[in-house]
């Protein structure tokens, strides 16, 4: 994309540096002059919001690690110590725990934006797949972070989730002991989760760099789904989108601040303020809200399928729900990207959104009665959407006519 650069080293020192390490040139090309479609709406601001979330989590997390103790007898108290004694600890800890929820809220918006506007389609498959990897790594990071306060939900969440690996045939039990470092979740588990919880955000940061790199090769998708055809279709990233992203980030920080300052525990679970006890399971184990849809998929399979027992079946379904995201670019073959021009797709898409919210709701309900049946139907729709509906739609749907260019779609509205 160097042909878009207008960078001219200003003085001798800049010229000297540019010949040796063209970092300023790189920043100017990718963070300032980068040609960006001029019709991006506010759904496109969540990429920048997510970068902000990652920075907030890393900064607050590094600070919390200065006061936290990863030891089973001390961990619970050390978190309370942070909240009560450490200067400003109440707010820093609240920003970190609320920050996890806000991070997921933003990433779900970002993913569903990609699903609606077909951002996963060629030539952005690798961009999309790196995004799925970031999402899965983020879930692992959040899960391990939730274990650290060592409350009842921390402990039993860790027990339930690590037990998932025991479903794997033959190697399951040795693998489970390897992951836990014991026969049950214990001090060894807490220690390694702390270590990995510190590591993974930096892995995510590296994946984000690859994600943005993969974005800057084809450039942004846009609400029409029509590729950029000339410089008339684009504006420079700075100041047009830096300002738009900044404004969106400020708006995003309003609910963030409200949660952090006024209701830091409202997204958590009261049981996690009881210290971990390996002999008593809370009456009702639920993961944090952002993992609920996948939790529902995990427990919806309560029947054996051929030689696959119900437990392994649930694990396959849960991982399968992420793998279908990974191969989505090859399931939806419709050449039209944007849902705005796909009359049939839109209905199934919005049903998918409602279905996903329903999966989340069901994950918080007890696994009994009518909920069990509804959960199975919702899981069936989740998979049908990717494996049946999208492939079939790409064959039978008649899309609406596309605008000739981004510029036409923007100006055409104003003129008519």
């Amino acid at each position: 994309m160097s042909e878009h650069s207008t960078y001219q080293p200003g003085n001798g020192a800049e010229k000297w540096l540019d010949d040796r390490l063209p970092a300023v040139r790189f920043a100017k090309e990718h963070l300032m002059d980068f040609p960006t479609p001029k019709n991006l709406n506010y759904w496109w601001t969540f990429g920048a919001i997510l970068v902000m979330c990652l920075v907030i989590q890393i900064v607050t997390g590094v600070v919390l690690a200065m006061h936290y103790t990863p030891q089973v007898d001390l961990a619970f108290d050390s978190v309370e110590h942070i909240r009560r004694n450490v200067n400003g600890g109440r707010v820093i800890q609240a920003v970190h725990s609320v920050g996890a929820s806000m991070f997921f809220a933003a990433i779900y918006v970002h993913i569903f934006r990609g699903l609606y506007f077909g951002s996963y389609k060629a030539p952005r498959e690798v961009l999309w797949m790196i995004g799925v990897l970031i999402f899965v790594t983020l879930m692992a990071t959040a899960f391990m972070g939730y274990v650290l306060p060592w409350g009842q939900m921390s402990f039993w969440g860790a027990t339930v989730i690590t037990n998932i690996f025991s479903a794997i045939p033959i190697v399951g039990d040795p693998l489970l002991q390897l992951i836990r470092g014991g026969f049950a979740v214990d001090n060894a588990t807490l220690n390694r989760f702390f270590s990995l919880h510190y590591l993974l955000p930096f892995i995510i940061a590296a994946l984000v760099v690859l994600h943005i790199w993969a974005l800057h090769v084809p450039g942004n998708n846009n609400p029409t789904g029509v590729e950029v055809k000339s410089s008339r279709d684009t504006v420079a990233f700075h100041p047009y989108y830096t300002m738009k992203d900044l404004f969106a980030a400020v708006v995003f920080l309003i609910p963030f601040a409200w949660f952090a300052f006024f209701a830091p525990d409202i997204l958590g679970h009261p049981d996690n303020y009881i210290q971990a006890n390996s002999q008593v399971t809370p009456a009702h184990i639920v993961p944090e809200w952002y993992l609920l849809p996948f939790y529902t998929i995990l427990r919806a399979i309560d029947f054996n399928v051929l030689f696959i027992n119900s437990k392994l079946g649930g694990v396959i379904a849960m991982f399968g729900s992420m793998i279908v995201l990974l191969i989505l670019p090859w399931l939806d073959r419709s050449p039209v990207r944007s849902g705005n021009f796909r009359p049939m797709f839109r209905w199934f898409y919005w049903l998918f959104v409602i279905n996903f919210i329903a999966l989340g709701y069901l994950g918080a309900q007890p696994a009994e009665g009518i909920y069990v049946l509804i959960a199975k139907l919702c899981v069936a729709y989740y998979f049908a959407y990717f494996l049946v509906i999208l492939p079939v739609l790409s064959r039978i749907e008649m899309p609406r006519p596309l605008p000739a260019s981004i510029s036409e779609s923007v100006l055409g509205k104003a003129h008519s």
Partner: protein, 174 residues
């Protein structure tokens, strides 16, 4: 001439593959200790065998003890519970096992089981569920009075750990 070039390429390829193979073995050998350190350590393994006295557990009473960090149910069953467990036909069971297979001969009133649901490891609640045995609140698995799974996502019966009666009132687990 052509054969000579081919010959030289083969020799060089062999060296590449051989070097790569030695390198891969070296990396694997260096990686193994870094993975193996994750396994249960010596202090965890040292707690593998415990003795437990059954004195004082009345009929109809259960206690939960710890073995290798895992909770273990020890239940003194009532005659009705044993009767209920034995009257079930094996065809109804998801993981067919007779009541006799889950207890020690001559000590049928004692049921010793690891107290983690075989689904995802929660501790089931005693004397509840649709079969008056155990009910796991996490994902809704029901167990009967012999700890056998009857309904829900759990794939297997509650696990009976290796144990033996040292005397009528003393068991050794592990």
């Amino acid at each position: 001439m052509a054969t000579q070039i081919e010959h030289q390429q083969t020799r060089r390829d062999f060296l590449y593959v051989a070097t790569g193979a030695v390198g891969a073995v070296g990396v694997a050998a260096a990686a193994w200790p870094l993975i193996n350190q994750l396994n249960p350590d010596a202090s965890t393994l040292a707690l593998a065998t415990i003795e437990f006295s059954l004195d004082g557990i009345e009929e109809g009473q259960s206690v939960t003890i710890l073995w290798r960090g895992l909770p273990v149910f020890v239940r003194h069953r009532t005659p009705e519970e044993i009767e209920a467990a034995r009257s079930v036909s094996l065809a109804e069971l998801k993981d067919p096992q007779t009541d006799e297979e889950r207890t020690k001969e001559g000590h049928e009133e004692w049921l010793v089981m690891i107290a983690n649901c075989t689904h995802l490891g929660c501790v089931p609640v005693g004397e509840s569920g649709d079969f008056n045995g155990w009910f796991c609140p996490c994902h809704g698995s029901h167990y009967d009075t012999a700890g056998r799974v009857r309904r829900g996502p759990a794939p297997a019966n509650l696990v009976v750990p290796p144990y033996e009666f040292l005397s009528d009132s003393l068991i050794q687990i592990g």
